[in-house]
């Protein structure tokens, strides 16, 4: 589908993109960014891989991205779609669970019930980092599903 140069460059770039996305999500309460922005970066990693390698085609060369991040998405496209759908649902449920546990521990829905910590450190912010991580996973999985379904539709139609 694509040339060897593009495939090699993708294998090199994608781990750094994932690292950058995770950094944006985890440092969402300290630096500009947050769950949505980092999640979109992680989802665009999936889009890059789909465009370069194809949504269905099995690729022989093993990249770091295939093995670590998405647990070999080309093994079987339907299995991968199922896995990532479960990830999306679980992260949405975690997000709502944080809000519901705020009722018990803080008195009202989505109350910030964890200790604030000193502002500026990674452990500050109470529930904000956890909400950011849940939203980041949900947005990343959602965009991956979206791109996957659309590209699979295009491949099937051709």
């Amino acid at each position: 589908m694509s040339s060897r140069i593009v495939e090699t460059a993708t294998n090199i770039i994608v781990p750094f993109m994932i690292l950058f996305g995770v950094y944006i999500v985890i440092n969402g309460h300290l630096t500009p960014g947050g769950g949505f922005q980092g999640g979109v970066i992680l989802g665009s990693c999936a889009l890059l891989v789909y465009i370069v390698f194809g949504a269905k085609k099995r690729v022989k060369g093993i990249s770091i991205f295939e093995n670590i991040a998405f647990s070999n998405p080309f093994k079987s496209s339907q299995v991968f779609l199922k896995d990532i759908s479960i990830l999306e649902n679980i992260s949405a449920l975690v997000f709502l669970f944080i809000g519901l546990s705020g009722i018990i521990l803080g008195g009202f829905l989505f109350s910030n019930f964890i200790a604030r910590g000193t502002p500026g450190t990674i452990t500050s912010g109470g529930t904000i980092p956890f909400i950011n991580i849940a939203i980041g996973l949900k947005v990343a999985a959602g965009f991956a599903i979206l791109f996957f379904i659309v590209l699979e539709y295009i491949e099937r139609r051709d």
Binding site: H29, G35, F95, T118, G120, G126, T127, K138, G142, R156
Partner: protein, 85 residues
């Protein structure tokens, strides 16, 4: 026809520019925004004010956004996903 469209475009831009000249920028931030700026860091502990508003003060808005994204994915997968036979 082209003259009419051009006239309408010039009219709209004129109205926008004329009305934007009368706006006053940066004078009053309002009670709520002032409270966020003053107490945001001490109340939420997050240095990033945008994140503290999105994930603490206005978190219902974020819940709605995630539900919108979920429904969008649901619709796309219902329309475009192939039949299993």
């Amino acid at each position: 026809m082209k003259v009419k469209i051009g006239f309408i475009i010039v009219l709209i831009f004129g109205i926008l520019i004329f009305s934007s000249l009368r706006l006053e920028f940066g004078n009053d931030v309002g009670i709520t925004a002032g409270m966020y700026i003053e107490k945001g860091v001490s109340e939420t502990g997050a240095v990033n004010l945008v994140s503290s508003i999105l994930a603490d003060y206005r978190v219902y808005d974020t819940v709605g956004e995630t539900i919108i994204l979920f429904i969008a994915i649901l619709g796309v997968s219902m329309i475009l996903k192939g039949d299993k036979k």
